[in-house]
Symmetry: C3
Subunit: 109 residues, 3 copies
């Protein structure tokens, strides 16, 4: 038995928990702030059997990997939109920091 602790970005959170649930992984979401990732983040605890760790990691990777996104920057002046069309810029989003902790025993009451 292992406890997977995954710190991910808020925006990837529901996609990941849905994908985990579809594959029969149960996760608990902890409210977290600041930290390992720059933007607002979420910490998930996932309890799983030793033989399912790789599958869980694969799901986390598929849904939360760091990637580039084009975003329209906010016009610096707020001013005359007709004369100024801001170019979209690349930003990095997503990313996951994942710790696998050993579990000595597990109970369900």
């Amino acid at each position: 038995m292992k406890m997977i602790i995954a710190v991910i970005q808020d925006k990837d959170s529901s996609r990941l928990t849905d994908a985990l649930a579809e594959n029969n992984f149960q996760s608990t979401k902890l409210a977290t702030t600041g930290g390992f990732l720059k933007a607002g983040n979420t910490t998930l605890m996932i309890g799983c059997n030793d033989e399912s760790v790789d599958e869980a990691l694969e799901i986390i990777k598929d849904n939360c990997s760091q990637r580039e996104q084009m975003v329209a920057p906010i016009s610096p002046m707020g001013g005359n939109a007709d004369s100024y069309i801001p170019k979209p810029v690349k930003v990095e989003v997503g990313g996951a920091t994942v710790f696998i902790l050993p579990v000595e025993s597990y109970f369900q009451f």
Copy 2:
């Protein structure tokens, strides 16, 4: 030394933390959502000596086990209460998912 992580239902939370405190177990409550249990849940971290793990588990079991409860269902129409007396239905409440993690060292400053 062990770290007990118990995911329980919100409704069992204060009863459990009270029972733990009466038995000299210190717990920290983490705000959590979704996850291992269907209803709103709470995660408790309990640090305890190796020889006290069984006692802590007993307290969790006594206060949070899954059980059936009779609840009056909400009238589907909201309508004429005189002519419609809803039969109470059984629902499952409570339940605890508990992980025991090894602790390598412990400090108090």
Copy 3:
């Protein structure tokens, strides 16, 4: 690799996370209530290399140790402030409860 879980007082929280960040430790703050310490508390998760655990503990100790503080007590009656000057009293503030957990593996996606 280790996971340091530190339960500290809210009032020491930003000072500690700043000090950790200056020393290249990444921490995630979990919203917590009640528990190991009497006043409102915060739980930090800090992932760190085996060889950096002592340095992280030193930073936690320096920023969160239990200490005495003089506080002006609230006048019991709210009443005549001219005739009653409350003597400051010593209270204990701060304190940290720290668990070091083993980490089996660590991933960054």
